[in-house]
């Protein structure tokens, strides 16, 4: 992270960055450091980098949880429609900004996105709840239905936004541009505690992949745990989406990737996926920020880099398996 913070249009050495951070906590800033550097590091680069790291970790962990609990290796943090809900909320906010609103966009968009995600989650759960035991099929189906409705809503808003439609499309692609300490704070509150809580339920989630009957026979209240764990993972995901827009791929691929190497046990899967998610988005964000002539949306970049890498590893493990 320190190294990444040094890269960019203005190059700053890791030593200088440490001194700047120390100065930020009340230390003395040496005269050798350019007076504009502290602003670049503390207000621009660090919040953005920490945001990228937390979003990466949060999405990867949520991916593990959704895949385990929905008993479906193809699930990702967005399976229950959280992304559509957040996107709808953000689109509404952007539309309000276009027609004129007094509130600052940096506040109103994440707020609406988060609200949209939570409302969607509530809708999906209440739609799936009458089914016995909140089964994964009914949850997935409810997620698809609500997503479809919201997608239509987003299309309508894009249509209404007319020439300002770019703002919505750009948000939908996900980005870490202009992230500040408020975003970092929101993410820290949601992502870090939820990751710790979810780690506590690793064993239950492992067992629950075998089906409800055997899990209950082992003393697990499957309905209660499924509801609790999905809500925790969804809150974390909602925070990530609200702050950074929709960054696909991380939540699907990172857990797969880690599972291929370490096996399916959540005890290792969750913490290692968290770290890998952090590293993946930090790397991707650094690449788009530093190396490329113009910033391309982070979601696009992760898929472009991660996709082929995943194909390569997938192919390799499949070949090994058949030997």
């Amino acid at each position: 992270m320190i190294f990444s913070a040094g890269l960019g249009f203005i190059e700053i050495s890791p030593g200088e960055i440490l001194q700047i951070i120390a100065a930020g906590f009340g230390g003395h800033l040496p005269d050798t450091i350019d007076a504009s550097y502290p602003f670049v590091i503390m207000e621009v680069r660090l919040p953005r980098i920490i945001t990228a790291v937390l979003v990466g970790g949060g999405l990867a962990v949520a991916g593990c949880i959704f895949q385990s609990l929905l008993q479906n290796p193809l699930a990702d943090p967005y399976t229950l429609g959280i992304s559509s809900g957040a996107a709808f909320g953000a689109s509404v906010a952007i539309l309000l900004l276009i027609v004129g609103s007094a509130l600052p966009s940096s506040l109103i968009i994440p707020l609406f996105a988060f609200g949209g995600a939570l409302l969607t989650l509530a809708a999906v759960f209440s739609l799936a709840a009458p089914s016995t035991r909140l089964s994964s099929n009914s949850l997935i189906l409810a997620g698809i239905i609500i997503s479809a409705i919201l997608s239509a809503g987003i299309s309508l808003i894009k249509f209404l936004a007319d020439e300002q439609v770019n703002a919505i499309i750009f948000w939908l692609m996900g980005s870490f541009i202009g992230k500040d300490w408020t975003d970092v704070l929101l993410l820290s509150i949601l992502v870090l505690p939820s990751t710790l809580i979810l780690m506590l339920f690793s064993r239950e989630m492992d067992i629950m992949t075998f089906g409800d009957r055997t899990s209950e026979a082992l003393g697990i209240d499957t309905t209660k745990i499924r509801r609790f764990v999905l809500i925790v993972a969804s809150l974390s995901t909602s925070g990530c989406v609200a702050v950074s827009g929709i960054i696909g791929f991380v939540g699907l691929i990172v857990p797969h990737f880690v599972r291929m190497i370490l096996g399916p046990s959540n005890t290792m899967l969750i913490p290692v996926s968290f770290l890998c998610g952090c590293i993946l988005l930090l790397g991707a964000d650094t690449v788009t920020r530093v190396l490329l002539p113009t910033e391309i949306p982070i979601g696009v970049l992760t898929a472009l880099i991660g996709g082929p890498l995943f194909c390569y590893i997938f192919r390799k493990t499949q070949l090994q398996r058949w030997r």
Partner: protein, 260 residues
């Protein structure tokens, strides 16, 4: 007074989506016996197993285990008393056989500790007992139906409960493994455990079970000693098949079915 340890069912009704599944079931299942639960497809055997395990709750009537109503007990309390091997499982991820069987120790391992020597020993013993030790490192998804079934029985055994419910567990097995599992269960019963096994194979029931429960159309059709309950009349009655009971010289009894 009768021993209160075991199940006690009083006028139990259960329906699924308004269609009655089980009706008027009253019976006592005593500790230390090997019960065979037989009856045609759809007669309610699996539902009765679900009720006895507390997976579903009776619409009417009460089910007590060791004198306490099942629905008043916490899941973890029940898990200390009884285990279930259901007919079907979901296998979506590549857990290996050893990890899978270790999950059976879940009720005995608290959240913040890891498996002890004793846990590992029990798992190894169960793997050996069910003849699946050589599969320990193999993914659960790469086993045959019979191997999977034996692994899941091993997992139930390491849970180390007094009461064991089996739902058609020998259905997928080769005859040698089916017999081995029934012998294992018999040995557990002789050591004081209680086994209730839903079975298709009437000869298995005759050979191994002390006591037979016959379900037909959701009602308890008959119950009693295996050799007294399973006879030509019963087979004709509930399966509409003619058969003959053959008494072996060694005291064994089995059914021979007539195909015409």
């Amino acid at each position: 007074m009768r021993d209160s340890r075991g199940w006690d069912l009083e006028n139990v009704y259960f329906s699924y989506a308004a269609a009655p599944c089980l009706q008027e079931i009253s019976m006592a299942l005593e500790r230390g016996r090997f019960y065979g639960l037989i009856g045609p497809n759809g007669s309610g055997k699996s539902t009765l197993i679900d009720l006895l395990s507390g997976y579903v709750r009776a619409d009417q009537g009460t089910i007590r285990l060791n004198g306490r109503p099942l629905h008043s007990m916490q899941r973890l309390e029940l898990a200390a008393l009884l285990t279930v091997v259901p007919q079907r499982f979901a296998f979506n991820f590549d857990f290996n056989v050893y990890e899978t069987v270790m999950m059976g120790r879940y009720p005995h391992i608290s959240r913040f500790s890891s498996p002890t020597q004793n846990d590992h020993r029990q798992v190894s013993e169960a793997l050996a007992l069910l003849d699946v030790a050589y599969l320990a490192e193999r993914s659960i998804r790469k086993l045959s139906g019979g191997e999977t079934q034996r692994v899941m029985i091993a997992r139930a055994l390491v849970q180390d409960t007094d009461f064991i419910l089996l739902d058609e567990v020998t259905a997928n097995l080769d005859i040698n493994h089916a017999i081995a599992i029934m012998q294992t269960m018999k040995a557990l019963v002789n050591r004081g455990k209680t086994v209730i096994a839903a079975l298709h194979d009437l000869n298995m029931a005759l050979s191994f079970c002390d006591h037979i429960l016959v379900l037909n159309n959701g009602r308890l059709h008959r119950q009693g000693m295996a050799t007294e309950v399973i006879d030509e009349g019963l087979v004709a009655d509930i399966y509409q098949v003619s058969s003959e009971v053959i008494n072996g010289d060694d005291g064994s009894v089995h059914l021979s079915f007539k195909y015409q």
